[in-house]
Amino acid sequence: MSFLAKVFIYPINSLILADLVERFGHKPLTMMSQIREKVTSLSLDSPPINITPEDPKLGLKYAAIEVPAGVRGRMSLIGPLIEQAESAIIVENPPTDFGCVGCNRTNELTKYLIRSKGVPVLEVKYPESDEEARDFVNKIVAFLESLPKEKSEEDEKAKEKEPAEKEGKK
């Protein structure tokens, strides 16, 4: 499947945002894809562990050593997504910020990093009524349609192959 642009979403596991982004042809960068890689890899030994002692070390790239291990562990999953992001949609005041995405320090750091990355960011409020939902959808759709059209994954792969073929010929 080819996508136009990689869009980082906050809340990072949102159904509505992930669906809207995919519906309009872009690739949502979500926590679910990161988790899938983690829990389906053979290196993971036994349930219920899904964060290994290595993860807080990887998180050091995004947060200092004094920061709690929970923040660093989460950042080891969210950080690579921020690096890939070509644009972002941030929803303020989502109703539930608890559970695995309920760490407020991680959320603040995530939002700070994505805002300071310099990519186009849309900030909207979580809708609470039908009218607000209409505005919410309209703003997101307008933003997604305004995003620069990136080359498809197939084109990128083809481009990657070309130099390799050239090298092979040499």
Binding site: A18, D19, M32, R36, G99, S129, D130, R134
Partner: protein, 147 residues
């Protein structure tokens, strides 16, 4: 040679439609004869299988009522011991709370998508009406000159 294993993915199909029930969508998947695992839930379906199969199926299901059927990825496969309620002694699984909150908002989001689609149709119709063919323009000019 050993056969390489295809990438397995899992997706949630959340149904907030007046026309389609989770059981209808499940039947549609059974009819399609794709080798995927389907789990029916209170909010919709969980579909798991090879990436191509799941993506094709999800697109087919979405077309049943495209503005009221929502899809997202899931990290854990269905029935995974680390998340499944059966092995955790009951209660909602982690991650369900946020999904439940979002499901409450889906009718409004679906209605907004419907409106957006209707608006697009209107603008397309207007465009079609406004567009004047060059041959028609020539006729108008000729008529005007003939007066």
């Amino acid at each position: 040679m050993t056969e390489t294993k295809k990438e397995e993915i899992t997706k949630y199909i959340v149904i907030s439609s007046d026309k389609v029930l989770p059981s209808d969508a499940a039947m549609k998947i059974y009819e399609s004869e794709f080798p995927v695992t389907v789990k029916e839930t209170c909010f919709g379906l969980i579909v798991s299988g090879a990436r191509d199969d799941v993506e094709t199926l999800v697109e087919q299901i979405r077309q049943l009522d495209k503005n009221h059927i929502f899809v997202k990825d899931r990290g854990f496969p269905p029935g995974d011991e680390r998340r499944c309620r059966a092995s955790r002694g009951g209660g909602p699984r982690p991650g369900f709370h946020f999904l439940r909150e979002e499901v409450e908002m889906l009718p409004a989001i679906g209605a907004a998508l419907d409106e957006l689609e209707a608006k697009e149709c209107m603008t397309e119709k207007r465009k079609a009406k406004c567009r004047l063919k060059t041959s028609d323009l020539e006729k108008v000019i000729e008529e005007e000159l003939a007066r």
